[in-house]
């Protein structure tokens, strides 16, 4: 399980940067807010790595909802004569020890994995955002108490805490998802709080206060819109973290019961055939790696964009 590194705050532009930007101002077309969005999208569109990563993620999400679009096989149909076939045009990922098409099982595994990831992320976002915003915005005693609580959560390595939760709740996709989600909360809370604290002290917030804006208005109109950038970056990064954590817990044997199989279970199932049929483990593993790598790349690109 990886640990998210909180993104650094936006640096203040130096005099030189400012001068260079302003020298480009005059001949740049005036775009306003909508134009700004369009320009950003165009800039992203010109990054092949970003587009490739995005396409892969969209594809995976699609497979989670309609796996039948991408395969003609039944994920549970066994076929003893076709066991452990190497990858071919009919079986892009080969077949497993029961002759089931691995590609199809991967696609159907997406549904479970994506579902678990979404549950984990929702928990992390709802709880983490609330903790972070409340803590950062109200400060004082509330902040001290909440952040101490987060410190304690951080003191227990997240996968171990997840194991404790799984022990208590039992095995299966949902308990695993909850356990992973709780593990991500502290990082989320911290990043959100740091961002809120940063934006809260900026001159434009002070200007809004001087202009008579209520704290609620300041929070909703200024602080939240200007803090969500790094939080979004972290959310994308944490999606990858959650996928790996869920796969790891499945591998340890705490996931969904067979024959349903998450990605982690699929990789794990192949370990008995490493010598004779290495692809049964390796191809699903590479697939998971590609998905997480894409998420990391998306997160990194978004972060650079925010600078």
């Amino acid at each position: 399980m990886t640990v998210p590194i909180p993104p650094a705050g936006q640096p203040v532009p130096s005099g030189l940067d400012r001068a260079v930007e302003e020298s480009l101002l005059d001949d740049a077309p005036v775009v306003g807010r909508r134009g700004n969005t369009v320009r950003t999208l165009k800039r992203l569109g010109r990054k092949p790595g970003f587009v490739l990563a995005l396409v892969l993620i969209v594809f995976v999400v699609l497979t989670a909802f309609v796996p039948s679009w991408f395969t003609g096989f039944d994920p549970t149909a066994t076929s003893p004569k076709d066991r452990l076939l190497s990858p071919s045009l009919t079986h892009p990922f080969g077949t497993d020890d029961l002759g089931r098409d691995l590609w199809t099982r991967m696609l159907h595994g997406s549904a479970l994995t994506i579902k678990a990831t979404l549950i984990a992320l929702s928990i992390a976002i709802v709880a983490g955002l609330t903790l972070g915003v409340v803590s950062g915005f109200f400060g004082g005693l509330v902040d001290v108490v909440l952040m101490r609580f987060v410190d304690v959560l951080l003191a227990v390595p997240s996968l171990l805490f997840a194991l404790a939760i799984v022990t208590a709740l039992g095995f299966g996709t949902v308990p695993v998802a909850i356990a992973v989600g709780v593990g991500i909360v502290p990082g989320f809370a911290r990043t959100t709080r740091a961002e809120v604290l940063r934006v809260k002290t900026l001159p434009y917030v002070e200007a809004a206060r001087a202009g008579g804006a209520s704290w609620l208005r300041v929070l909703v109109r200024h602080v939240l819109p200007n803090s969500w950038g790094p939080v979004l970056v972290l959310a994308v990064l944490d999606t990858g973290v959650a996928i790996i954590a869920i796969a790891s817990l499945s591998f340890l044997g705490f996931g969904a019961a067979p024959p349903a199989a998450e990605w982690g279970t699929l990789i794990s199932n192949g370990r008995n055939f490493l010598i004779t049929a290495p692809w049964v483990s390796l191809l699903p593993g590479l697939f998971v790696g590609a998905v997480v790598l894409s998420l990391n790349h998306l997160s990194k690109t978004l972060q650079e964009l925010g600078r």
Binding site: M1, T2, V3, I5, A8, D143, V144, M147, R148, D151, V152, L153, L154, A155, V156, P157, S158, L159, L160, F161, L163, A164, I165, V166, T167, A168, L169, G240, I244, A247, S248, F251, L252, G253, F254, G264, I267, S268, G270, R271, L274, I275, P278, S281, L282, G285, V288, G289, V292, L293, N296, H297, K300
Partner: protein
């Protein structure tokens, strides 16, 4: 200064106590039927017992007492080095841990050395190399290393070094040669994390004004990086060490399972499968203690390494 150390140590104790309590709450209060869960670990199916038998079984494991009392006695025991008795294995938890901890410590130590060397060298090179393709490759490496599930990396290494090349044993826990692959698996992840943090830190440091001063003296880029950038970049990265040690502990669970090593990590996995609550609680508390101690040591060392901090008043919040 000594007041600061005492205060910081007291804070560490409080965090540790809170972590223990939190885990206890999760394990004893979260399950809908904690008694059935725990007796299940002993192979007793509660719904097949008569009320009298059930009462006897509960009394045997101390489950008939109120939760608060169970908590206090468990905490009292933990303070005296008694971590309870495994329900599934019917043995004291301390004995179980004692048998297994040596193998895990050895694994963690080797992984730690590999992590420090690998992460530092990678980050150092990535910020030193000027040739663009090499630089891009080096800066992307950690992200790749952190993108694959550890058990997969473990399987890959077994496939490559044990089965294909036959250099190292695939599984087991005897001798140094059996340590190499699992330690490598752990350090691939931890060194990726360290490298990422260090790279960012190097970036920040190298854009500081005093780097310009140093270069204007006519020092070579190598000298500037080694004498002026390295220490200033490494200092903030030290704070990630606690997290990395925690990560090493959790990695041990997965990696010991993959390589069939008889360590604390494997014990954790077995205990969760058996829902052996006292063992799980003990292992979580142990991991939290390691994390808290490492962070304490880092915090106490920091002022010795950074001249700007003479004593550390809490000003961050």
């Amino acid at each position: 200064m000594s007041r600061y150390i005492l205060g910081r140590a007291a804070q560490a104790v409080v965090v540790l106590w809170a972590a223990y309590t939190l885990t206890f709450v999760v394990l004893y209060l979260l399950p809908s039927d904690p008694v059935a869960l725990q007796l299940g670990a002993a192979g007793i199916e509660t719904d097949k017992l008569s009320p009298v038998q059930l009462q006897a079984a509960m009394a045997k494991y101390g489950l008939d007492r109120p939760v608060l009392e169970q908590y206090l006695s468990s905490l009292w025991g933990a303070l005296h080095g008694d971590l309870g008795t495994s329900i599934a294995k019917q043995r004291p938890v301390t004995a179980l841990l004692g048998e297994r901890i040596g193998s895990t410590v050895a694994l963690g130590a080797v992984a730690g050395v590999l992590m420090l060397v690998g992460g530092t060298v990678l980050a150092y090179l990535a910020s030193y190399v000027r040739w663009r393709p090499a630089r891009i490759l080096l800066t992307r490496l950690p992200s790749v290393g952190a993108s694959f599930p550890q058990f997969f990396i473990g399987l890959l290494l077994i496939q490559l070094f044990a089965f294909t090349l036959g250099w190292l044993p695939a599984t087991g826990s005897d001798g140094f040669s059996s340590l190499i692959l699992p330690a490598l698996t752990i350090s691939l992840l931890t060194s990726s994390l360290l490298a990422q943090v260090l790279m960012r830190s190097f970036d920040d440091t190298l854009s500081q004004a005093y780097i310009v001063t140093a270069r204007a003296k006519g020092l070579s880029r190598a000298a500037v990086q080694w004498k002026h950038a390295f220490r200033n970049a490494a200092l903030p990265a030290m704070t990630i060490l606690g997290v990395i040690v925690g990560l090493t502990v959790t990695s041990a669970i997965v990696v010991e399972t993959v390589f069939a090593r008889n360590g604390v990590g494997k014990l954790a996995q077995e205990s969760v499968v058996a829902q052996d609550v006292p063992v799980v609680l003990a292992i979580v508390a142990l991991a939290a203690a390691v994390f808290v101690v490492v962070n304490l040591v880092v915090d106490l060392l920091y002022p010795l390494l950074d001249p700007r901090i003479v004593h550390v008043p809490k000003v961050s919040r």
